[in-house]
C-alpha cells in the first residue's frame, strides 16, 4: 500500500510532472511544428479524393448523411479533434513505456506516490500540448482553408472536447497499465488509431454503413464529433445537444472508474509477476 501525502502534495507532483513534460517538448521544438502542420496535410488526400469523385467541394449524398454538403470542414474538424485523441493515446497511454525507454520507470514506481497521480500530470501536459497544436491547426484552417470558426462557437466546442477527453484519458490511463504488463505496445497503439479511424466519424460519416454506424455508438468520439460538427457547421446551440452531453457525461463516469480500476489491477499484476523492470 502506497503512502499518501495528501491532496497538496499530489497537486505538486502533477505540476512537477507537467514541468518535466514541457521541458522534454521544448528539447524537440520540431515536433510542435510537425504536429501543428501535418494533421492538416493528412486531410489533403480527402480533399483531392472529393474533387475527383464529385467534381467540387460539396456533395448532396454527403449532405443527406451529415447535414452539411461541404466535406472539407467535415474532415478538417475530424483531423483537429482526433489530434487530441491520438496525442492522448501516445502521450498518456504510451507514457509509462517511454519511461521504460528512458530508464526512469522504476524510480516512478518506487517513489512514495501513486503512479496514477504521475499519470494525471502527464495527462494535463498532454492536454496543453494538444491544445497548442489544435489552436495552430485551427488558425491555419481558418485563415487558409476557409473554415468558419467564430469565438462564440469555441466555448461550447471546448466543453464538448473536455467531456470527451475526461473519459478518454480514463481509457488512456488503463492503457498505460496495459503497457506495464505487455511492454511493447507500439503496434497496438497504431491498431487503436486505425480502429478509431474506422469506427468513429473522424474522416467519413459512419452512417454510410450499418456496421460502422452500430459499432460507433459505443465510441465516445462519435458523439463528440457529431456535437462539435453540429455547433460549427450547423449552428446548433449546445443546449439542443443536451442528449449528447448527457451520454458523454455517462461515458466519462464509466471510463474514469473503469480506467482507474484497470490500471490499479494491471499495476498490481505486473508487480506480482516481478516484470516491472523487464524491457
Amino acid at each position: 500500500m502506497k503512502q499518501t501525502f495528501g491532496f497538496k502534495n499530489d497537486i505538486k507532483i502533477v505540476f512537477a510532472e507537467f514541468k518535466k513534460s514541457v521541458k522534454i517538448w521544448l528539447a524537440y521544438p520540431i515536433l510542435i511544428v510537425f504536429w501543428g502542420i501535418f494533421p492538416l496535410l493528412w486531410v489533403l488526400p480527402y480533399v483531392f479524393q472529393g474533387k475527383a469523385l464529385v467534381g467540387g467541394m460539396s456533395s448532396m449524398p454527403f449532405k443527406e448523411l451529415t447535414g452539411s454538403a461541404n466535406y472539407l470542414p467535415f474532415v478538417l474538424i475530424g483531423a483537429m479533434v482526433s489530434t487530441y485523441i491520438f496525442s492522448g493515446l501516445w502521450g498518456v497511454g504510451n507514457s509509462l513505456r517511454e519511461e521504460t525507454y528512458w530508464g526512469t520507470l522504476e524510480y516512478i514506481i518506487v517513489s512514495p506516490t501513486n503512479p496514477v497521480v504521475v499519470l494525471l500530470g502527464k495527462t494535463l501536459a498532454e492536454f496543453v500540448y494538444a491544445t497548442v497544436n489544435v489552436t495552430f491547426q485551427a488558425l491555419v484552417a481558418t485563415i487558409f482553408l476557409g473554415l468558419s470558426l467564430t469565438i462564440a462557437k469555441v466555448f461550447p466546442v471546448m466543453i464538448i472536447i473536455v467531456l470527451l477527453l475526461v473519459g478518454f484519458y480514463g481509457f488512456a490511463i488503463a492503457f498505460a497499465g496495459f503497457t506495464l504488463l505487455i511492454k511493447e505496445v507500439h503496434g497496438w497503439v497504431h491498431t487503436l488509431e486505425w480502429v478509431f479511424y474506422l469506427f468513429s466519424p473522424i474522416r467519413y460519416p459512419v452512417e454510410v454503413s450499418p456496421i460502422t454506424k452500430a459499432i460507433s455508438t459505443i465510441v465516445p468520439l462519435t458523439y463528440a464529433l457529431v456535437a462539435i460538427r453540429g455547433i460549427i457547421l450547423l449552428n446548433k446551440h449546445i443546449i439542443n445537444l443536451w442528449q449528447t452531453v448527457l451520454i458523454l457525461i455517462w461515458m466519462d463516469i464509466i471510463l474514469l472508474i473503469a480506467g482507474y480500476l484497470t490500471f490499479q489491477y494491471l499495476e498490481r499484476k505486473t508487480k506480482e509477476a516481478g516484470t516491472i523492470a523487464q524491457y
Binding site: 488526400p45 479524393q49 469523385l53 443527406e64 503496434g187 491498431t191 486505425w194 467519413y204 460519416p205
Partner: protein, 281 residues
C-alpha cells in the same frame, strides 16, 4: 568468372539468411504479426467508405470522366494496396538498421564478411515478401466485402510494373535506413516523407485534380508511374503518358534512386565509422 559466381552465391546466402532471420523474429511475436496483417485493412476501408458517402454509391461519373472508369472502390483499393510498398521502403526497410541498434546486433551484422548493401538487400527481400502477403490478404478481404472488378489479363503486366517500381523503392529504403544511422530517431523524417509522398502520389484520385506544382512533383516519384500503370492494366485507367513512357521513366527513376540510395548509404556508413558514432544510441 569463377570468383564472381562464388561471390554471388555467397551474397545470395547472406541475403537469404537475413530474410529468414527477420521472419523468425516476426513469427516469435504471433499476436503482433497477426495484428500487422489486419492493420492495412482497417487503414484502407475508411477511404472506401468516404468515397461511398460522397457519391452515394460506388460509381462516380466525375471519376469516369477523369480516368475512364467510374468504379471508385476498385480504383481506390488498388491505389492503397500498392502504395503499401512505399510504406515498406520507408518503415520496414528504413528502420531495419535502427531495429538492429535496439537489439544491440548492428555491430555484429556489420562485422559479417559481406558488403553492407548485401544486408540491405536481405532486408528488402524480407520486406517485399511480408508486404506481398499483406497485399494478398488485403485484396482477398476487400474483394469479399466489396467485390472488385479487374481485368485478369492485366495481372501479369501489372506485377511487372510493381517489380520495376520496387527497384526504385529499394534505393529509397536504403537511403532512409542509412539516414537513421545519423539521425538516430529518424521516425520524423520517415513520417514527413511518407505524408508528402502519399499526398502527391495519385493513390485515391487522378493526377489531374492535384495543384500544378504537385502534379510536377509527382512525376519524379516512381509510385506515381507504378500505381497509375498498374491500374491501367487492371481497370483501364487512362494516363497522361503511354505505357512505354511509364516503363521507361520507372526504369530511369529506379536506376537514379538505387544509385543515389547506395551512394548515401556508403557515405553515411563511412562517416559513422570515422566519427565513431555507429554504436551511439
Amino acid at each position: 568468372m569463377d570468383q564472381i559466381i562464388k561471390n554471388a552465391k555467397h551474397y545470395l546466402r547472406a541475403v537469404w539468411a537475413e530474410n529468414i532471420k527477420e521472419w523468425k523474429i516476426e513469427l516469435t511475436y504471433k499476436p503482433d504479426f497477426i495484428r500487422g496483417l489486419i492493420d492495412p485493412l482497417v487503414y484502407a476501408i475508411p477511404y472506401l467508405l468516404y468515397g461511398i458517402a460522397l457519391v452515394g454509391g460506388r460509381t462516380s461519373k466525375t471519376l469516369q470522366g477523369y480516368v475512364g472508369t467510374g468504379d471508385l472502390i476498385t480504383f481506390v483499393t488498388l491505389g492503397y494496396v500498392f502504395i503499401g510498398f512505399l510504406n515498406m521502403a520507408l518503415w520496414a526497410m528504413g528502420f531495419s538498421l535502427r531495429k538492429e541498434q535496439y537489439w544491440g546486433t548492428l555491430e555484429s551484422v556489420f562485422a559479417a564478411p559481406v558488403p553492407r548493401w548485401v544486408f540491405a538487400l536481405g532486408m528488402a527481400a524480407h520486406s517485399t515478401l511480408h508486404q506481398g502477403l499483406m497485399i494478398f490478404l488485403q485484396l482477398v478481404v476487400i474483394n469479399l466485402i466489396f467485390k472488385l472488378t479487374i481485368n485478369p489479363a492485366g495481372i501479369l503486366p501489372a506485377l511487372l510494373v510493381v517489380a520495376v517500381m520496387l527497384i526504385a523503392l529499394y534505393g529509397f529504403g536504403m537511403m532512409v535506413a542509412s539516414l537513421t544511422l545519423i539521425l538516430k530517431q529518424g521516425w520524423l523524417v520517415s513520417e514527413a516523407l511518407a505524408s508528402i509522398m502519399m499526398t502527391i502520389t495519385p493513390i485515391a484520385y487522378p493526377i489531374a485534380v492535384l495543384p500544378l506544382f504537385m502534379q510536377k512533383a509527382s512525376l519524379i516519384l516512381p509510385t506515381t508511374y507504378g500505381i497509375m500503370t498498374t491500374r491501367h492494366f487492371l481497370i483501364g485507367e487512362t494516363m497522361p503518358f503511354s505505357v512505354a513512357t511509364s516503363f521507361f521513366r520507372l526504369i530511369v527513376l529506379g536506376i537514379v534512386w538505387v544509385v543515389f540510395g547506395l551512394i548515401v548509404f556508403e557515405i553515411i556508413d563511412r562517416r559513422t565509422r570515422r566519427t565513431g558514432t555507429i554504436s551511439h544510441y
